[in-house]
């Protein structure tokens, strides 16, 4: 603060407090609505004093939407995607930064361009690919005459087929590739002093040893930031799980929310819907609160 400005300070506090209320109110309203019974939650205006049915509603929402296994699915998927992204992008960045080979720039640009192909614009064909992940390779072999050749030589007809619908791999793999993560590591690797590499090589360390024993421990901060961001991102995915999981046993917590929307004809069970919303909101909120430092750092670093 540079000077005394009592009036301005008053308005600063006022506006900031309004912003605070604007951000927190929805959470509070959801929590309060989740504690009412059917009659109270539909009162106009709804009472802002918490009711007494909180745990009953939570339990009802939990069983109606079968949230136990769904939350577990969400965890498996979010964790798988985050871990996959952290590992795969580290490997790629290592390859791009620490090796000289023809086509290196091409690989860099191939990864870069994926930034412009978000999942939402290629959902229909990606769905077709996941229905049979080997289809691209089958087509290529057919077109190049390779399958014909194999059939002639061995008499085996090449019929590659591997469906990933309704499986964890189908949920996770298409989301693992990441350009932002790769660039984050690349930026960091470029700042690692060359002397370290020289020293490691002088001591006889190969590429893999250097990567595992020196580079990875150094990039722990990077990993935490990237992991946090990607965990939240994956947890919040909606469109992809909605398409891929037609089978209930692989459904996610976030997609299950749809089942809790009160029907037009039925009783307006908003208290149950809000209890379910609260359960689904809580894990990412906890991650944001506990990992705030990494979350903010990851956000700012990945978008650069």
């Amino acid at each position: 603060m540079v000077e005394r400005t009592p009036i301005l300070n008053f308005f600063t506090h006022l506006i900031l407090f309004a912003g605070f209320v604007f951000c927190v109110a929805p959470f509070v309203i959801v929590a309060i609505a989740a504690s009412h019974n059917l009659k109270d939650v539909n009162d106009v205006p709804m009472s802002l004093l918490p009711g007494s049915d909180f745990w009953v509603n939570i339990k009802t929402a939990w069983t109606t939407a079968d949230l136990g296994p769904k939350l577990l699915n969400s965890f498996i998927m979010a964790f798988g995607v985050a871990a996959g992204k952290v590992i795969v992008s580290a490997l790629t960045a290592f390859s791009i930064v620490y090796f000289r080979y023809p086509g290196r720039t091409l690989i860099f640009w191939l990864i870069f361009i994926t930034l412009m192909l978000p999942l939402e614009v290629r959902i229909v064909p990606t769905y077709a690919v996941v229905a049979n992940v080997l289809e691209p390779y089958q087509t290529i072999m057919d077109l190049t005459g390779l399958s014909w050749l194999i059939e002639k030589i061995s008499g085996v007809q090449v019929q590659l087929s591997l469906g990933l619908l309704n499986s964890y791999s189908g949920l996770i793999l298409p989301l693992v590739a990441t350009a932002t993560g790769t660039f984050l590591y690349r930026q960091f690797f470029l700042t690692v002093p060359d002397e370290l590499t020289e020293a490691a090589r002088m001591d006889g360390a190969g590429a893999l040893r250097f990567f595992v024993d020196i580079l990875l421990p150094l990039s722990r901060n990077n990993m935490a930031a990237l992991g946090t961001i990607m965990f939240l991102w994956a947890w919040n995915q909606y469109l992809w799980p909605l398409l891929i999981t037609t089978d209930q046993s692989h459904a996610m917590a976030v997609t299950e929310l749809k089942q809790l929307i009160p029907n037009v004809g039925g009783a307006p069970e908003w208290h149950i819907a809000m209890a379910g919303t609260l359960i689904v909101m809580l894990p990412p909120l906890i991650v944001v609160v506990l990992m705030q430092r990494w979350f903010v750092r990851g956000l700012i670093a990945t978008e650069k």
Partner: protein, 294 residues
């Protein structure tokens, strides 16, 4: 920037990149190519492969009033929600940066909404903005029929805009605050010594210095409003009433998976892809400038 010291065996080097390359080929390039192929062909009703139709799919989409309606809805949505989310975040960040007592609280709390899944906050707002329960019902009691997102297209659009802006205020806030804090305090103090007030300093020093961040966030917010809106639309309005909130991604999804019109959906995907490519190019050109700027 290049590394001076590298590892010699480049065959090993390529191996490290293989997992990523396989993933992007299988799940990015192949589907994108497929989308282009589908958009230029038409599946025959009795099987027998696709027939080449050139740009017919694009022509029929661009001649379709529903599609233009969807584009208009997306633009209205992108424009208003981006504007709201950015202005509110800018004001809050500028005020938080004054670092009065208690500003740590805002720095912590204002980020929370961004962590929440779009469908979850959509359900919360569907209740908060419901016409018969919750809070807009109070307004409806005073003026009956004032608010009904289920029947009135403008109300439905307003609902999804509110839900989306709420989430992205937190996001923009993080970046604005980081930008404000990157401005050297000495600049502000020097200006204050010269006798300029808080508002004057904001417009003459802070605002020009954060314009790169503003442009950057503008692009990100618009692209996200195309992508992240799907969950909000699906939970709150399902594209209705009367297609008033049938945004582009939602239309691709409903045409492709409910209408099973792969060619039409693919052509729409290509158009959306071009839009995003254009926005990304704008963003990166601008980022180049930002690097020189600092």
């Amino acid at each position: 920037m290049e590394k001076r010291v590298t590892f010699g065996r480049w065959t090993i080097g390529i191996l490290f990149a293989v997992p990523q390359l396989l993933l992007i080929f299988t799940f990015f390039y192949w589907p994108a190519g497929q989308a282009i192929y589908w958009s230029l062909t038409l599946q025959q009703p009795w099987g027998g492969g696709n027939i080449w139709v050139g740009l017919d799919n694009f022509r029929s989409i661009l001649a379709n009033a529903d599609y233009w309606n969807s584009i208009t809805a997306s633009m209205v949505f992108a424009g208003i929600s981006t504007g709201l989310a950015m202005v509110i975040a800018l004001v809050l960040a500028a005020l938080t940066d004054r670092q009065l007592a208690g500003s740590w609280l805002y720095r912590v709390v204002l980020i929370w909404p961004y962590g929440i899944a779009a469908p979850a906050l959509a359900l919360a707002f569907r209740f908060i903005l419901a016409p018969e329960a919750g809070f807009m019902a109070v307004v409806n009691q005073v003026w009956p029929g004032f608010w009904d997102p289920g029947l009135d297209g403008a109300d439905a659009m307003a609902s999804i805009i509110i839900a989306f802006s709420w989430k992205y205020v937190g996001y923009n806030f993080i970046f604005f605050l980081a930008a404000f804090q990157a401005i050297p305090r000495s600049l502000i103090e020097a200006a204050a010594m010269d006798g300029s007030g808080v508002i004057r300093r904001f417009w003459d020093i802070q605002f020009p210095l954060i314009t790169p961040t503003i442009f950057f966030l503008l692009v990100i917010n618009i692209t996200e409003s195309f992508q992240d809106s799907f969950g909000i639309v699906d939970i709150m309005t399902a594209g209705g009433p009367a297609n008033a909130t049938n945004l582009m991604v939602y239309k691709i999804y409903s045409d492709g998976f409910k209408g099973l019109d792969y060619s039409g959906a693919a052509a729409q995907s290509i158009i959306l892809m071009l839009l995003i490519v254009a926005l990304t190019i704008v963003q990166f050109r601008f980022i180049e400038r930002r690097v020189h700027y600092r």
